[in-house]
């Protein structure tokens, strides 16, 4: 990865049109001193690895298949038109794109999202419940085992409970929206940079029934409880991953603006909905302080509806509290 200063110069030159662009740089934030930087194995590595038994290889590959094509479970476990790979780019291996292996090395741990200690499977259940607007496979099921195996194999050789990780998650732009970031600015960025793939109305694009570019809002996208609904999460994801193939191409401000725009559109209801959006926002304020849920846009309260998209229920059973009290 280039040092940031070199990247700035390349950006200046490209921006000034001086360079006959033979290269679009890959711009990511620099790693911080002392961070553990992981290089997750590839499928080729898996197939060549003599230490991994064939039975385990098969299960890992099954987990990878679920990850890459979660849509095959549409109508059963998934009611959006998303697959895990849409937000966890590069097969879930890619630094700065929410690589999934840290979930295997840093859990079980307390998570603020649900206020108790979560296992890896419960973390995965969260992705099904919120980001995929679905219903998680049963704990301990073959599918959960396969997904866990995929996560953990990607963590090969990573230190257990090492939390100082480079390129993890989506928060490199910080959590607070800078001043003077506006919806209208975001809309312009969206139409210029994003609509060609994700559609003018965020509907995404499919070919022969297969999703190519995922929907970013509306009935078929992630619901109001998904991490991506937080403006800072989307801003960092977009800054470091979008447009596809051009990480870092957008300015920080454009990334924030378009994240605000996308996350000010309607989407299916938060599974934790109490029946009143302001009440739900308050109850889960540790999460919703970062979303536009329960705020007003053009005189309309975002999230005040009973729309669960294609999902025929609101809340999957897996979303339940734990107290560890006997």
């Amino acid at each position: 990865m280039r040092p940031f200063s070199t990247v700035l110069w390349v950006a200046v030159i490209l921006g000034s049109g001086m360079l006959h662009a033979a290269e679009v740089p890959v711009e990511h934030p620099p790693f911080k001193k002392g961070q553990y930087v992981h290089h997750a194995p590839t499928v080729d590595d898996l197939m060549k690895d003599q230490e991994i038994k064939p039975q385990l290889k098969k299960v890992i590959l099954k987990g990878r298949d679920i990850f890459m094509n979660t849509q095959q479970y549409r109508g059963k476990y998934v009611f959006s038109r998303l697959s895990c790979k849409n937000c966890h780019l590069g097969e879930g291996r890619l630094n700065w794109s929410g690589p999934i292996w840290p979930a295997a090395t840093t859990l079980p741990d307390y998570r603020g999202k649900n206020g108790h200690v979560n296992s890896l499977e419960e973390r995965i259940a969260g992705c099904f419940s919120f980001s995929l607007n679905g219903k998680p496979p049963e704990y301990g099921s073959d599918m959960m085992l396969a997904l866990s195996a995929y996560h953990q194999w990607l963590a090969l050789k990573a230190p257990v409970y090492e939390t100082h990780i480079g390129g993890r998650g989506y928060s490199s732009l910080g959590k607070d929206i800078p001043k003077d970031i506006h919806y209208v600015q975001g809309e312009k960025v969206y139409q210029a940079q994003c609509a060609i793939c994700h559609g003018a109305t965020g509907q995404g694009k499919s070919v022969e029934g297969k999703v190519v570019f995922p929907p970013l809002w509306g009935d078929e996208s992630y619901n109001w409880g998904a991490g991506m609904a937080r403006v800072y999460t989307a801003a960092s994801f977009i800054k470091n991953n979008m447009p596809l193939g051009k990480p870092g191409a957008l300015s920080d401000r454009d990334a924030w603006a378009v994240a605000l725009y996308v996350n000010s559109q309607e989407r299916p209801q938060d599974p934790r909905y109490t029946g009143d959006v302001k009440e739900t926002r308050e109850k889960y304020f540790n999460f919703h302080q970062y979303t536009m849920y329960g705020t007003e846009r053009d005189g309309v309260l975002l999230g005040q509806h009973d729309n669960t998209g294609a999902k025929p229920f609101l809340k999957p059973d897996a979303l339940r509290p734990r107290t560890f009290d006997e």
Binding site: H20, E23, V43, E91, Q191, I196, A200, V207, V212, Q265
Partner: protein, 217 residues
Amino acid sequence: MMPVHRGWLFGAVLALTGVAHGAGDPEKGKLIVTAGDGSGAPCVACHGLDGAGNDLAGFPRLAGMDAGYLVKQVRDYRSGARKSAVMSPNVDDLNDDQIADVAAYYATLNTAPTSLPSGAPGALALGEALATKGDWDHYIVPCETCHGPGNVGVGSDFPKLAGQHPTYIKQQLKAWKTGTRNNDPNHLMLAIAGRLTETQIEAIAAWLARQDPKGGK
């Protein structure tokens, strides 16, 4: 129902200013393909009436390509946004309606792909890997992520690659690398092509050319 929001207005503007045109007439298109624009070679001379093109000569296959995509390319050749000493003189006297008609004609064609010799297994395996899995460590996104399942294309912005001639695919990837082609929206192709090595370009071209343009396995 999800409330309508202002995006639709931008979408409409985009649609009108983008590749949209009155849907062309394939019958009229066939006549223009045969007669040309009056000042250069007619399409038929290089691309064939069946739109098969010619690999060795580097004339791309046009049969079954998305009409909207073809329209944009021909308009770009006409304006110089896409540079070709061969194409520009042949299309510079076509008006928008004629371009739409020609594109509509070629889009309807179902011509069988040209058969190719077997191809080196190593190169094909590499090409398949790049086209379907990419090489994320070098930020090479798999072709099919944008060009669709089976690389059959997505709408008018991401053309069909399956069954396209290998020489043409190679030429275009190299053209992006050297900066001689830059009419791709938002530099999306430039980003990827700029990261490909010669070996990877050869492999991708060899594999894509041998895929079924209809997307069958």
